[in-house]
Symmetry: C2
Subunit: 411 residues, 2 copies
């Protein structure tokens, strides 16, 4: 029988407990939304201040060399690489996930022979992934968008398939897709895989190279804690780097950007996936945030994410079961990312009530309440306490209060 004492003991024995001190967390808040916006790493506070006041303010244009702003996208990419099972030279920080998916999807199609022009995606995946492929197919009408029903990816593969875009962890359910098995299928069909790691990087032990991934993009502001709208990253497996061309061929991806010549020549490295000038202040925050992963093994992160999620599921079912909450995520931790979702009638109001009580998760239509367990700063006792508060809200029906009924612009 688990008790709050058990949770405190688990926290005391937690090999990742040291990492919580690396974050600045607000008093009185149990933050279970790191899957949407990661918490503030303490190192980012001073680093960003220094980038503004000293680097920009004092050293001005000289900072491109003196503080190596110019090398930051590759340096940050190299640090992300370890967290996703890639080599440093395979990852670069750049732009947003959406922009990067466009680059990679377009490049993958154009690297295939002309009879392969279909791009496959499953409906119900994260919307921007679908939207980006829709935009690509509208721009280049020879590209056929094959958006199939969830689970239909394998059947959609054939000799005309160029590329498959997949979420590693589903944004809504938290379900993990088996990367190795999926890549084997895609490879066998002669297509290239493009993974959206937004909900897996920084919380799972992603192993892009071990699992045979071709291409990937991932988010800097969720489990990597890089700050709101932090730059995203691009992964291109070493074996594809020479052949793939970035269609957003901006000057920062040029082999010699400061020669100012008229003709584009891609950098002979992963830097070719850059486009324009990177947002240095936002990228500085991401760079600093990666300090929080120093000395952290991703296998331990994944293990703790699973254990926190298991605890949450057990406690919700024990304490809130009679209110009709239904698990909307895989029960088996091996099949689940860092978040756990429950279908919950009146979920919007329940979540607003939770937030007002200091438990921050989020709501996804029509009826899903979603909780993310970022292992670097969420404790077992936090999970216990969050479920006690949820149970109290449901038992007391306090969520019926009118102030919890209004929808906000962003959810």
């Amino acid at each position: 029988m688990t008790t709050r004492q058990t949770c405190l003991a688990l926290d005391a024995a937690d090999p990742l407990a040291f990492a919580r001190e690396r974050f600045s967390l607000p008093e009185g808040v149990i933050y279970l939304d790191g899957n949407s916006l990661g918490a503030l790493p303490k190192s980012a506070v001073e680093r960003v201040r220094g980038a503004v006041e000293r680097e920009w303010g004092e050293d001005l244009i000289a900072s491109w060399n003196r503080h190596d702003w110019i090398g930051m996208p590759q340096r940050v990419g190299g640090r992300v690489a370890r967290l996703v099972g890639a080599e440093a030279g395979e990852v670069v920080a750049a732009d947003s996930v959406s922009v990067n998916l466009f680059k990679l999807a377009a490049a993958a199609v154009r690297a295939q022979p002309p009879e392969r022009r279909a791009v496959v995606i499953e409906r119900g995946d994260f919307p921007t992934d679908l939207y980006i492929l829709q935009g690509l197919a509208a721009l280049a009408p020879d590209i056929e968008l094959r958006a199939v029903e969830p689970g239909g990816m394998a059947e959609a593969l054939d000799e005309t398939t160029a590329m498959v875009l997949l979420s590693h962890v589903h944004y809504r359910s938290g379900a993990v897709r088996d990367m190795a098995a999926t890549n084997a299928l895609i490879r066998e069909a002669g297509a290239l895989s493009l993974w959206d790691l937004s909900h897996s990087c920084g919380v799972l032990d992603v192993a892009l190279n071990r699992d045979g991934a071709d291409l990937a993009a991932g988010c800097g502001y969720k489990y990597l804690n890089g700050g709101p709208g932090a730059p995203a990253f691009v992964f291109v497996a070493e074996r594809h780097q020479a052949a793939l061309q970035n269609p957003l061929s901006g000057w920062m991806g040029h082999a010699r950007p400061f020669d100012f010549i008229d003709d584009y020549a891609p950098a002979p490295s992963v830097a070719r996936w850059l486009c324009g000038t990177p947002p240095v202040l936002s990228m500085t925050a991401l760079d600093a945030a990666l300090d929080a992963f120093e000395g952290v093994e991703m296998a331990a992160v994944r293990a703790k994410a699973g254990a926190l999620g298991d605890l949450f599921i057990d406690r919700v079912e024990a304490r809130c079961g009679r209110h009709g909450l239904t698990l909307a995520s895989p029960r088996n931790a091996a099949e689940r990312g860092g978040q756990v979702s429950f279908a919950c009638e009146n979920g919007w109001a329940v979540m607003q009530n939770l937030i007002a009580r200091g438990v921050v998760g989020d709501f996804r239509r029509p009826d899903v309440i979603r909780f993310g367990f970022a292992p670097l700063y969420v404790r077992y006792a936090d999970v216990w306490d969050a479920v006690e508060i949820l149970a109290d809200i449901l038992d007391s029906e306090s969520w019926r209060d009118e102030r919890y009924q209004t929808a906000a612009a962003v959810t």
Copy 2:
């Protein structure tokens, strides 16, 4: 006869003198590179700190609503609009100049009838503008790239032309292109104009609507002082907004991004030009930087930029003429943007020596030394002093010192 006293008198009478106090400038530096990276506005220091510590650190995910992060791209765009002669609803802050040029060029072509598929640009324009069109034409082979010699734009227009991409101010020479006359030519040919405002916005009295521009993108980190790699902006004239489709159709440009539906539907506003999640910290700096333009009329900014450049040219020719410096910018201020370039033998070493003496300009190959005069913080006396130092360097040949001979990564 101009003297340093005359310069001090001009500064005392300068209607923009008040603006210098809005910037944090390093001691002992005459900063003449605001055309490459604008100086730090004091307001940005506190605003970015607040965005990190309070908004991200304390309010976390709630900041999307509480601090209106979600509305920031349109709010910032609306503030930029006044500076470029547009309506608030025609401008949005997003991504980089390079990415935005791709969006707009692609959209312009696809909005034209199928017989118009040529995109025109002049060689020698800012390289990323050429590179982006090269990437677009490689991705969509029905698009014909017509890169003509400098000055050849008008002759390249015909009934197959879809779009023309032009720099308003040339990055190297500072030459201004006549926007009204150029737009008239382009319109008459049935094509659409796309302006790169990177070297004109924030220093000239750009009048996009008065001058009949169709589309534009501009830089946030030069004369707008938004910080290194600040987000850029997109302008789409109201009359084109319904018809043009963003090919980078990411979720932030969706009509209802938080409905999480499978099919893209563009926002019915300029917000459709967004793609992924914006870099909030970098955009906060840009927003704060625009405070420095409060109460500033762009006609006064342009007038002062011209006067500073005229003074610089006069003084360089008077003091350094015998060293063979040749003006590489238009002599007439009406035809010149905010920067003045001189061809200068051994220009690299001369510029390094200048920087070591506290006069910061930059160098462009093969032999151009370039100086930018940002009217919000550069004084007439600064121009006088900078030329005295330049003359001393040339007279004494101190630039021959070996420490000024080494090339840096970024120039």
